[in-house]
Symmetry: C2
Subunit: 181 residues, 2 copies
């Protein structure tokens, strides 16, 4: 039940179309929540039916019409109530770890190559987060900006920890893989 509330959270900052929201989910919000455009459009219809958002059709030339969504008062109330509900801790769910767990059934080379791919992806994400950090979160921050900085920092520390873990496992594999026991 978090997707509609993530959408409401974005809409508190500015009005947006489904397309805009999808951009948001692949960028700024993307370091802690993801959604595809299909999910977003479906969710927006439901939310509109519940009265949490309303939209205005914006005609365009050449391009198809936009639906610009805005938060309603009911939507704000809903978001506020939701904020007070206790949030669950999300456990890790990492396919790579299942593969490691059963790793003796395959060759060490397969494991090494899986880890290297992950290492690279974590490096890229870390770099992306660091550039967001440099761009938006330098100097004195308002309370609101501070909160958003902390959510980014969670992403930063997650990627850094993942990266270091990959490096350590790779080093261990290189030492032990040859003399497999």
């Amino acid at each position: 039940m978090s997707l509609p509330h993530a959408i409401l959270a974005i809409l508190t900052q500015k009005e947006a179309t489904g397309y805009d929201l999808a951009q948001n989910f692949s960028q700024s919000i993307g370091h802690f929540w993801q959604a595809s455009h299909q999910q977003i459009y479906r969710e927006l219809s439901k939310m509109e039916a519940q009265g949490w958002v309303s939209f205005a059709v914006v005609p365009q030339k050449g391009k198809p019409d936009k639906k610009r969504y805005a938060l309603t008062l009911a939507g704000q109330d809903e978001l506020k109530n939701w904020l007070e509900e206790p949030a669950r801790v999300t456990p890790i769910r990492e396919t790579l770890l299942i593969k490691l767990f059963a790793g003796t059934l395959t060759s060490p080379e397969v494991l090494v190559s899986q880890l290297e791919t992950h290492l690279e992806l974590h490096r890229e994400k870390l770099a992306a987060y660091q550039s967001l950090e440099n761009e938006y979160f330098q100097g004195e921050l308002s309370f609101a900006a501070g909160l958003q900085y902390w959510s980014l920092k969670r992403g930063l520390s997650y990627e850094l920890a993942s990266l270091e873990w990959c490096e350590q496992v790779l080093a261990w594999l290189n030492k032990h893989a040859s003399k497999a026991d």
Copy 2:
């Protein structure tokens, strides 16, 4: 598509009933994959239909009959092939971060209490992982045990990072919440 393969991975180590598997998922495998008993029973039926596992009915006195599942050759092949497919990186999906992101709409006290709950939960999980570490992964380890140790270490570092992050945000909130700007 990872749940059936996680089950196959457990079954490579020993035969198990649906109940046993559910225990496994809430314990050892639980630090990187989760599944409820409902999911497991459903999945086992499907896997049996596909020929990846077979079961023997074990009658018991007093208790209901068990179905003891074992890996078939086809199941082993399936697992081996799956191990070679590239694993995707799982992005973070943390409800708490949405709440922080929209945190200006509620009082700092709500945020503090959410963070404190999370802090406590991460502390508990960390302690549980540490006792697993002390119990099973001391001294010289075989290759197989080493791989499993690395999967546990991923959980350890994740919990530690989460915990430190919670502490830092709490410290920041205590400094800034009163003079909210």
